[in-house]
Amino acid sequence: MRPELAHDVRITDTTLRDGSHAMAHQFTEEQVRDTVRALDRSGVDTIEVSHGDGIGGSSFNYGFSHTDEMKLIAAARDEAKQAKIAVLLVPGIGTVDHLRQARDAGADMVRVATHCTEADVSPQHFAAARDLGMETVGFLMMAHKTTPEDLAKQARIMVDAGCQCPYVTDSAGALLMHEAKARFEALVAEVGDEAWVGYHGHQNLSLGIANSVLAYEAGVRYIDGSVCALGAGAGNSPTEVLAAVFDRLGVSTGLDVLGLLETAENVVRPYLHRWPKMDRNAIIQGWAGVYSSFLLHAERAAERYKVPAHDILRRCGELGYVGGQEDMIIDVAIQLAAQGGTHATD
């Protein structure tokens, strides 16, 4: 049931989904068309397009989309000649109804994302995806929060529900190399040849690319990147760097290194609000294991309540908040402010 691979590694570019966090969900149709056209020409296998928090994510809690994501998905489908179009769906936020709309708009694949211990909320969505004839991926988010053994059990739940590729999703960019490797090996051993295993990295501790190489060596075959690292926190493993590194390693990805560098320079960079970087707040996220998309929300709450963003983020880590609990950032900021945390904002 796992699909044939066209190359040694199947690259999914998530500039237009994870990057939506860094863009505060303000992507325009023109930006999406230009990006998809360039990625498609550069040999990217799969392009993910959605609100950062997945289809149905447009909200007070996560930020409202500038342009209806179904319109963006349709535009992406329209521009892509060879690339497949993927969407993210986080159960509890998005629903099967959103998935049907995305399918109608032209999405080929759904990536169903749950917290790493909560995979049993996903079978409903995998079943719907199979009925709709879509390819399926499962995101086990915040993969640092559970053991390799338990992560493998959660991957099993997804695979049994129809997931073709469970991912080690390092949402906080927190996995050190040995921790990442143990999770890759556990998942590859668990799913055998029933499914592929994927890796989605963040650069908060600068390990996205290194972990991608370890992933390949451990048998992981789906790997994510974003052009200019455009993603939450310090961003994702840059797709253009993945292309260059795998090319040097002699691992085929189908990616055109020079084409991606051109895409980064001339298509993505001009529209960046901010180039994701390893600044204090982002490093705190990797170090304290905080969901990367909390970054902009923490910065906004810091400004509103006059408490440092890095203190908010650290507290979110201590309290064990998971992806989707962006509302708790405001709560934490209010509590810190009440405790007299009136430092200058950074």
Binding site: D97, H115, V121, Y321, I330, I334
Partner: protein, 304 residues
């Protein structure tokens, strides 16, 4: 004042917690507890001198006298099958399952409107926790859009909720509109596995006009908190309502954000499971309102 005889169908965690709450009622007397297998819930009922059976609704409908009120905490499928039988027997049903056959009820908002209805739906846990606040805002100023975020401990989310999590988001969103009074609603649920388990948290965001009377909105929210605390003492505001000025991406509307904590009473379920507690407490509250109406109309005298 007389009492009304009730039955609890589905003596799992929810049903057993409800049993503990109803034991404190002056108006409702739990006469029967019904399951389909022997369980702790049935044993607990018998220990308290209540007739209990694992022979299901068939057994219940053979009892004399019949209950006047049934609380159903089974599954949507079971309730769909049982509801017509209750109605035929003249028994009012308070439905804690996701079947949603009757009108959706949130006690401090519309509890009094459906006292005669043969069947009422208790919506969802997130709905019970947040709809009072949406209503508290919408009774003061129009709410073109309301969004609720419910965070619950993983341990308090049962297999039924997990297998159909869309049902939660879709039903709650609809109730935010139909019961809460928002023109458009959205609901989000997050399961958090942290240990020790987190107490249920809910956030309510309401879009409001830039010139809405903020003091009146705040006062209305405080009044509503006091109303809910009558049946869920652990229902508290984490902070004063937070007002944000209009933003272009909010269609030039302002926003009020309300941060809630829902700590359960710890009757049978652990206190962190405020999401389950507020369901059983709201169901008990609605049942009491129905029972008082029966007593006042003398309906309880006819069959009891």
């Amino acid at each position: 004042m007389g009492t009304v005889t009730a039955a609890i169908v589905g003596p799992g965690n929810i049903g057993t917690d409800l049993f503990e709450k109803l034991r404190r009622s002056d108006t409702i007397e739990v006469g029967y507890v019904v399951g389909v297998v022997e369980s702790d819930g049935l044993a607990r009922a018998r220990d308290n001198g209540v007739a209990a059976s694992a022979d299901g609704v068939d057994w219940l409908l053979r009892q004399d006298p019949l209950p006047q009120l049934v609380f159903e905490a089974t599954s949507a499928k079971a309730h769909v099958a049982n509801a017509p039988r209750y109605e035929e027997a003249g028994i009012q049903a308070v439905d804690l399952t996701p079947a949603h056959l009757g009108p959706m009820v949130c006690p401090p908002v519309n509890g009094a409107e459906h006292l005669d209805s043969p069947n009422v739906s208790m919506i969802t846990c997130g709905g019970q926790a947040t709809i009072p606040i949406v209503h508290a805002v919408s009774r003061i100023t129009p709410v073109p859009y309301a969004e609720i975020v419910a965070s619950v401990s993983s341990r308090s989310a049962g297999p039924g909720t997990r297998a159909n999590i869309d049902e939660f988001t879709e039903t709650t969103a609809r109730a935010v509109e139909e019961v809460g009074g928002a023109a458009r609603g959205k609901a989000i649920i997050i399961l958090n596995p942290v240990t020790p388990p987190m107490i249920m948290r809910d956030t309510v965001f309401c879009m409001i006009s830039p010139d809405a009377d903020r003091d009146a909105v705040t006062a209305s929210i405080h009044d509503m908190i006091a109303d809910v605390r009558q049946y869920v003492p652990g229902y508290t505001l984490r902070a004063e309502p937070q007002f944000d000025d209009p933003r272009p991406d909010w269609r030039d509307h302002g926003r009020v954000a309300v941060f809630l904590e829902v700590k359960g009473n710890g009757d049978y379920l652990p206190p962190y499971a405020g999401n389950l507690d507020i369901m059983t407490a709201a169901a008990a509250q609605v049942g009491e309102q129905m029972a008082r109406a029966m007593v006042l109309s003398g309906a309880n005298e006819v069959t009891a």
